[in-house]
Symmetry: C2
């Protein structure tokens, strides 16, 4: 059976940087499901027309086509119930959806204000034009203005992570002794930064540094080994 | 069997205002477990000595003594497995712990900056002195300064609730079709404000207003009927 994950790529197609695609990639690895990954660029909306929409991640799993990282996680959990659970059972889905909403509305916007100028720098010329125009319209300022004073503002970002810190001070993963999809949700944001920017999101003595190291080690170190712009 | 929940009270002992005690009260109601509630004031630490610490909520359930709202929820879930689940099963516990940490580190501190001057006003004289001294030391300013400009700052508070809004736009409760402990966690903060202050936390057209109405209706309207300072 063919299994394909469409992922956002930079000018270097080996650099996969979408935080949402990383959630899906880690979810597949958690389930032990191999997938061919297919590069997709911001300007290639038509290439996703088969999915009925224009954004990644898109998972093709045999005859099934699923888009949106949350829907992909739910699909994998339901379709592959005998593989390790992403949610620790049915009851985990609703509160994990809250964590998904928290990451989408709190951490990802904050990370964008630290790295989008670097994200832009890693794109090919065609994507650079698209990205600058669409993001500058969204932010109401230039990418460089949006990322200004990031050495100061990263301190605010770190405060936003307090709920995660409160959890991983007592246990290795948000999911407990082992990671769950909740961990992959938060981790996606860190991979977005790692893949595109040399700017460090965490202080070295942050509890979350150790958590991130554990995440990088998971599933044969698939995240640690992924190509980064800074490397 | 005797079941007693020790709850924080104002000068009027019918006013129960601790957000943590509300989590436990709603958890008991969710499980359909009757409990005698016993009033406790800030200055009565000795009265909790039997629990090995000095804060409420404390639940006495027969021979068991449990303190801390999160521990009480876990205890109730394990001790009464045949009653409606607070977590939707084992897998719900870890991600709900994140929601607990989020509420404790994000929403409750924000609500305190809107209402603690009102909380103080509702206390008896002895508790007023304790509360003002301990909180002003913690905040580094007077209670009135801490609550200044709340009409402006409530807008920031409302933004913090975006993750909850993202959930209840699609479903009636954070837990899904029915409430779970995740709902009680967040709701506790609203009961803290409702019991002590006439200051409105939400805009009338906020999705969360409807969610809060649904919460007030639960379990025979036990939260709606509770005594409030503003009433």
């Amino acid at each position: 059976m063919t299994r394909i994950l469409y992922e956002l790529v930079a000018a270097d197609p080996a650099i996969r940087f979408s935080p949402y695609c990383w959630r899906s990639r880690m979810a597949l690895a958690h389930k032990g499901l191999a997938a061919e990954t297919r590069p997709w660029r911001f300007v290639e909306g038509d290439a996703l027309a088969f999915s009925g929409q224009g954004r990644v991640p898109v998972l093709v799993d045999g005859d099934e086509v699923i888009h949106d990282s949350w829907s992909i996680a739910l699909y994998l959990e339901e379709r592959y119930p005998d593989r390790p659970s992403l949610f620790g059972g049915e009851g985990g889905i609703a509160p994990t959806k809250f964590i998904n909403a928290w990451a989408d509305t709190v951490t990802l916007p904050a990370i964008s204000g630290l790295i989008v100028a670097d994200v832009w720098a890693g794109l090919d010329d065609e994507c650079k034009a698209y990205f600058r125009e669409s993001r500058e319209k969204r932010y109401g300022m230039t990418l460089e203005e949006f990322c200004a004073r990031r050495e100061e503002r990263v301190l605010d970002f770190r405060k936003l992570l307090q709920p995660v810190r409160a959890i991983v001070k007592d246990q290795p993963f948000i999911g407990g002794e082992a990671p769950t999809y909740a961990d992959y949700i938060v981790f996606g944001g860190f991979m977005w930064a790692r893949a595109t920017s040399s700017f460090e999101l965490l202080a070295a003595d942050d509890l979350l540094w150790s958590w991130r190291e554990r995440m990088l080690d998971l599933h044969d170190g698939c995240a640690r080994e992924a190509r980064c712009a800074a490397a």
